[in-house]
């Protein structure tokens, strides 16, 4: 009797499990595509990073972790890593906190027309391709005909005039500055959307309680956009470690490798110096760094989430 009762239950459970497995067929194509185009290259990159490849002869030699050991002793990797960190720090300050403040200011305007106007004004640079922006700023920084040096001279700041992209000490800052100009408006727009979602009642109540603009910003806007802030920090930091186009267009990592970032150094090693194994090792480092940053930030924002 006992056995008889258990059998239908087991059959039901098997059917349910089989049914669950069958439901996977609907996702199979997507899973195969994601596996093939996203996860397989990641695994393959780690495999390539343990080899030394001669692209001309096609010979592949296993070198174990030698590429990672070489990476630890490569002085340009440190320069590139520092430049990526600078990129991340400056971008977080401007494109996250700066954009948040600007969005709060815009959304605080009474006139909807002016709010739309300022959102559009700040968003326009983001609509331009990064390669085009890079070329545009190359001309702005150009020592002979550039707008920046000409403006500094006219303003009586001739002592600051210099080849911004040709000077080892200023090249990376010049590129980062361009990147802020380009990305600032996009972040502002996203923060503006997040702020619009906050019920006006909260502001009205706070105003009636005597809260000033700064208090409303700190006690209402900031906590209620924390999720967006967290997301923007992740996007900005991971973006800073994946930066490539603007550096290639403006300096190609020069002068004397001073503006190299991990992405351009990877390209230099793999495609210029024919060292694909070492390039893959650099790519693995970028992957790990961005993964860790993303995971840490997600964990932090999940803990501090505020719900309405």
């Amino acid at each position: 009797m006992v056995h008889g009762a258990a059998r239908p239950q087991r059959q039901k459970s098997l059917r349910a499990r089989f049914g669950n497995l069958l439901s996977f067929r609907w996702a199979a194509i997507a899973l195969i595509l994601i596996g093939w185009f996203v996860y397989y290259p990641i695994v393959d990159n780690f495999v390539v990073s343990t080899t030394d490849q001669d692209i001309y002869t096609g010979e592949v030699t296993n070198v174990g972790l030698a590429n990672y050991d070489r990476l630890l002793h490569d002085p340009i990797v440190l320069v590139a890593l520092w430049n990526n960190c600078l990129y991340a720090i400056i971008s977080v300050v401007f494109q996250v906190f700066g954009a948040f403040l600007l969005a709060a200011l815009i959304e605080d305007l009474r006139s909807e027309r002016w709010r739309r106007f300022w959102r559009a004004v700040y968003f326009v640079p983001s609509a331009i391709s990064i390669t085009v922006t890079g070329l545009l700023f190359y001309f702005i920084y150009q020592p002979q005909i550039g707008l920046l040096d000409a403006a500094l001279s006219r303003l009586g700041l001739g002592q600051l005039v210099q080849p911004w992209l040709g000077n080892e000490h200023t090249a990376i800052y010049a590129i980062i500055a361009m990147s802020q100009w380009q990305g600032f408006g996009y972040s502002t727009l996203l923060f503006a959307i997040a702020i619009q979602k906050i019920p006006r009642d909260l502001y009205d109540a706070a105003t009636m309680d005597g809260a000033g603009a700064f208090r409303r910003l700190w006690s209402i806007t900031f906590p209620l956009t924390r999720e967006m802030t967290g997301l923007m920090i992740i996007v900005t930091i991971t973006g800073a470690f994946q930066v490539f186009n603007e550096v290639m267009v403006m300096t190609a990592g020069g002068p004397n490798n001073s503006s190299q970032v991990l992405g351009t150094w990877l390209y230099q090693k793999a495609f210029i110096e024919d060292n694909f194994g070492y390039g893959a090792a650099i790519a693995a480092v970028i992957f790990v760094l961005t993964m860790l940053t993303g995971a840490a930030q997600l964990w932090y924002t999940k803990r501090r989430r505020v719900q309405l």
């Binding site: 692209i55 096609g58 040709g166 000077n167 190609a252 002068p255």
Partner: protein, 440 residues
């Protein structure tokens, strides 16, 4: 914690073993030799990677492809046109993915040697050798520039070398003549700078323009035997004192003749523009750029354009009759499914008629085909430049294609640092020596 370490260790071992499983594998095809008696099948698609991607040059291959398709309706020619800068990365990507086209651009020196080493280029000795019908139509020296291990692998398209182009009007206004020595060049620069013009416009953002100055100065200061020994990765030493002497001369030139550290913030194209707009008096350029530097529409007219070989420094111990440059050409992919057709297309490209079009404005690329560089349809400057190339005792290859890529990268970044003032000539040579030694 211990368990995590074990997991990491196992993962690393697994990844390494995956790499090991590929150890010693080879994707390259076996050596292929062109058969002079092979029948040409005029059907299918022929892919070609050119270095004629610039707006002024691109019509040349487009027109050739159209003409060839008209002659052979069963053939479709697909062009991949890249610029001087982009062809490097493009070629390596195509090699790494085993997707080289049927015909592809190549420099001489170690650049071409890589294709030969990997059996990626067809041995053309039997179809382009000096005794063959095709070989007799081409400049023997240009064909020989693509010789590796006693075999011929390249089809030279045009000759190239570096000269200092100058604006005759600016020189005449200041009472200057084309300098005869390097020291005279520096003195001329001082006079031009006093007049308010930039003596030499140099754009070194891409890093290779400085290499061209240094290359010619190295040819003047370092004996040819030492240079050739150092370009071979197995014997490279870079100990000749002429290297440091040449780099010191380059530093002087940067300080007295150019915008100094500003050169690293200026692109090659902007520097050329400054010269064509008559904002600078001189511009160091390849002969293949003469017809682009001075055109009827630019501020510097063809009649105002003059050129001279970079003058020899006093006491230089190398070869004063050397000139930096090399022919440039094309190779046939050993993995091509239609090698006879690819060879036939290149015979068409290097025919006398097409060669004359290539040598004349607006292309101005002095053809390597005998009779293709005809004085009647070429600009005067290109004709005279070609005579200088033919009179040279030694063609100094471009430093960045003569050296292995890792050593070339140090030359490129080191010369940027030298131009920017952050490294001394001795420090640059220390870095080159260290890298050359590591690359052995």
């Amino acid at each position: 914690m211990k368990r995590s370490l074990q997991v990491v260790a196992v993962t690393v071992a697994a990844v390494s073993s995956l790499g090991l499983s590929m150890g010693g594998s080879s994707a390259a095809s076996p050596a292929v030799t062109a058969d002079p008696n092979a029948k040409v099948e005029y059907s299918g698609t022929l892919s070609i990677l050119t270095k004629f991607g610039l707006q002024q040059l691109s019509p040349y291959f487009v027109n050739l492809a159209q003409d060839y398709e008209k002659l052979h309706p069963g053939v479709k020619v697909e062009l991949i046109q890249e610029s001087d800068d982009s062809v490097k990365g493009k070629t390596k990507t195509l090699v790494a993915s085993n997707s080289l086209p049927d015909v592809y651009f190549s420099w001489t020196g170690s650049w071409g040697a890589n294709f030969v080493r990997g059996n990626r280029a067809v041995d053309l000795s039997k179809v382009i050798g000096p005794d063959t019908d095709w070989g007799k139509t081409l400049s023997p020296a240009a064909v020989k520039a693509f010789e590796y291990n006693g075999k011929l692998y390249g089809i030279p398209l045009y000759q190239d070398a570096k000269f200092m182009g100058y604006n005759k009007q600016i020189f005449a206004k200041l009472g200057l003549k084309a300098p005869a020595t390097f020291e005279e060049l520096l003195t001329s620069c001082d006079a031009i700078r006093k007049s308010g013009a930039t003596p030499i416009s140099l754009g070194n953002k891409e890093a290779w323009p400085a290499i061209h100055f240094a290359g010619q100065l190295l040819a003047y200061n370092v004996p040819q035997a030492a240079l050739e020994r150092d370009f071979d990765p197995a014997t490279a030493e870079y100990t000749d004192p002429g290297y440091v002497a040449a780099l010191k001369q380059f530093s002087q030139l940067v300080v007295r003749c150019t915008d100094g550290a500003g050169v690293n913030g200026t692109s090659y194209a902007s520097a050329l523009q400054a010269f064509t707009n008559a904002q600078s008096a001189m511009y160091y350029q390849e002969i293949i750029e003469f017809d682009q530097a001075a055109t009827p529409d630019s501020a510097v007219k063809p009649a105002d354009f003059g050129f001279f070989k970079l003058p020899v420094p006093d006491g230089a111990k190398g070869d004063p009759k050397s000139i930096e440059g090399a022919p440039e050409g094309y190779m046939i992919n050993a993995a091509s499914k239609n090698i006879p057709l690819a060879i036939d297309f290149m015979k068409f490209v290097t025919s006398k008629e097409n060669a004359q079009v290539l040598s004349a404005p607006p292309y101005g690329q002095p053809s390597a085909t005998i009779g293709g560089a005809s004085e009647s349809n070429m600009s005067v400057a290109v004709v005279d430049g070609l005579k200088e190339i033919n009179a040279a005792s030694f063609l100094m290859p471009w430093l960045d294609t003569a050296n292995p890529p890792r050593v070339a990268a140090v030359w490129l970044s080191g010369l940027q640092a030298l131009a920017g003032g952050s490294m001394t000539p001795e420090q640059v040579m220390d870095e080159v020596r260290k890298t050359a030694s590591a690359a052995k």
